[in-house]
């Protein structure tokens, strides 16, 4: 649906996006993840025809953002990061204004406004359509922005930080809505919060310093952390050091960290490669007559992975 090829963007002498390529399949929800200033918004702005790329190309539904700009814009609903609105307009008035810019015939505009109002909690539980945009709270502005994007029911939704500034309840509702929208739309959302992307997206693209550092499904990325292999065990029956030392002699144990927990020794054993040493640890405890109360593989979180890749990148850049 969306094809980004060798995308590069310079702002004057600042390189914001550096040779990024990725594809978004039709009907997927893609999370665009990166620390602040990584180039997420810039990429989205190029995708939505707000600004042209310096090099490279972006096509949406086979249409180039430069040569078929108007057609691309018809297929995209774009919610910018700050959700800019005209403060003097009323919610309903603004949505009708946007509807007519979006080629929705005058007769169908009221129906479209009602439909999105309902979907984005603007008409229920409280009717907000007569409120002035300038008087709305951040959460409501966000809802108006999202409602506007859904007016013409575009095949592609581009949402820049859709949950920023929302309270926890609203974030949950917004996530549910995005998941629901993902069923019949292609959604690209950017975020610097990993948990959010992990829950809502079927595909994740991580960028850092303008460069693409990883992409895949949340599971694929998680696997890459698990690949490191870490086993956690809690054992009692001997001195901590003795237990840790014994664990260190196991084949494939690369590193052993230990700590005390009310008389129990908690081991964190990092293994070499993909090997699983849980069995070896059990035998070790059994043979020594030690008590074993916990033994599990530490599943790496995406958080670890995210921090790992973005941190490594920034270290490389610094070095």
């Amino acid at each position: 649906m969306i094809d980004v090829k060798h995308l590069t963007k310079w702002y004057g002498r600042v390189l914001a996006v550096d040779n990024i390529s990725f594809e978004v399949a039709k009907g997927s929800v893609v999370g665009f993840l990166g620390p602040n200033g990584a180039g997420k918004s810039t990429t989205l702005k190029i995708m939505t025809c707000y600004m042209p790329p310096t090099r490279g190309s972006v096509t949406v539904d086979g249409l180039d953002v430069l040569s078929d700009s108007l057609e691309v814009r018809r297929r995209i609903g774009y919610m910018p990061e700050s959700v800019p609105l005209y403060p003097e307009m009323r919610v309903g008035e603004y949505l009708r204004f946007r509807a007519s810019l979006r080629d929705i015939p005058a007769k169908e505009q009221s129906a479209a406004v009602q439909r999105v109002g309902k979907r984005c909690w603007l008409s229920e539980p409280e009717d907000m359509t007569r409120r002035r945009l300038g008087d709305l709270s951040r959460g409501y502005k966000q809802r108006v922005g999202l409602a506007e994007v859904l007016l013409h029911d575009p095949p592609v939704l581009v949402l820049d930080e859709p949950t920023i500034g929302l309270d926890p309840g609203q974030i949950r509702a917004m996530r549910a809505l995005i998941t629901e929208l993902g069923e019949d739309h292609t959604v690209i959302l950017s975020s610097h919060i990993l948990a959010e992307v992990e829950q809502t997206c079927s595909q994740i693209v991580i960028i850092q310093g303008g460069r693409l550092v990883a992409q895949g499904t949340p599971n694929e990325l998680r696997q890459r952390v698990v690949g490191q292999g870490k086993v956690i065990a809690e054992i009692r029956g001997a001195e901590s050091k003795q237990i840790a030392g014994a664990a260190g002699t196991l084949d494939n144990a690369a590193r052993v960290d230990h700590s005390d927990h009310n008389g129990w020794t908690r081991l964190e054993v990092t293994t070499r490669g993909e090997t699983d040493i849980r069995g070896d640890l059990y035998k070790l405890a059994h043979n020594n007559g030690w008590e074993l109360r916990e033994l599990r593989r530490a599943t790496g979180s995406l958080e670890d992975f995210f921090v790992q890749v973005t941190y490594e990148q920034s270290m490389q850049q610094a070095g």
Binding site: Y50, P84, P87, E88, L101
Partner: protein
């Protein structure tokens, strides 16, 4: 066309919402009223500067000339927010990513502010009505005068709109706009008599007030028509190009 209308309506509503537009409109009408009424008691200068002077022939010509001068300041003040405000608040991002062309955006904004300007001109009909009580003004002067004001207003507002595309700061847009409009509406008339041979002709031909004066005399001058229309088209074209170029920076 429909989208230009949509944009124009929103712009017009936005203008009516801005206190500044009301202040500018009120000052514009005050300037006209000052010109129109008999000279105040403290006035020691020439009585020819006023329209309703006892024992003197009254003509609407002076009123149109006054409006022409007032527009040098009023037009850029009315147009300064058009694009600058969109850029500052970020709404330009939703505007230019909607399926509309930059030309439609500029034309919509221009049509919106022209709507406000026409309402302003319409309210000066008060003076015409007052005049009708005392005399029978020449129909040609009235019709041509208003046509001239419409053309001059279009050119000045287009220039102001162009100034608004240059910066995100409204005040700066107004200052630039007044500067640009002065080059057409103030300086040529003042400078023409003092310039050497070829330049004084250029200045005279650039003088917007001279063309307006012809209209205010009840004459239809095609040179004036072409002058104002080409200025309007030129500034609108430049505005579209400036808006386009924003994407490239």
């Amino acid at each position: 066309m429909g989208k230009i209308w949509t944009l124009a309506r929103r712009e017009l509503a936005g203008t009516f919402f801005s206190p500044l537009a009301w202040v500018v409109g009120a000052l514009f009408l005050c300037a006209c009223a000052f010109k129109f009424c008999p000279p105040p008691a403290f006035w020691s200068g020439s009585r020819d500067a006023f329209i309703l002077v006892p024992h003197q022939q009254a003509s609407l010509r002076g009123l149109f000339e006054m409006m022409g001068v007032a527009m040098v300041v009023a037009a850029p003040l009315l147009t300064m927010r058009l694009v600058a405000e969109e850029v500052r608040s970020g709404t330009v991002e939703t505007l230019v990513t909607a399926p509309i062309t930059d030309a439609q955006i500029i034309l919509g904004k221009f049509a919106g502010v022209m709507g406000f300007y026409m309402a302003l001109l319409a309210s000066t009909v008060v003076f015409l009505v007052l005049m009708l009580i005392f005399a029978t003004p020449d129909a040609g002067v009235v019709i041509m005068g208003y046509l001239g004001m419409l053309l001059l207003g279009a050119a000045f507002l287009a220039a102001g709109l162009f100034a608004s595309t240059l910066t995100r700061y409204q005040l700066l847009a107004a200052v630039i706009g007044i500067g640009v409009v002065s080059l057409l509406g103030i300086f040529p008339g003042r400078l023409a008599p003092h310039l050497p041979a070829p330049l004084n002709q250029v200045a005279a031909n650039l003088n917007a007030q001279a063309y307006l004066r012809d209209f205010a005399r009840g004459m239809f001058d095609s040179r004036g028509l072409i002058y104002f229309l080409s200025l309007t088209a030129g500034f609108l074209f430049l505005s579209v190009k400036m808006l386009e170029s924003k994407r490239w920076r």
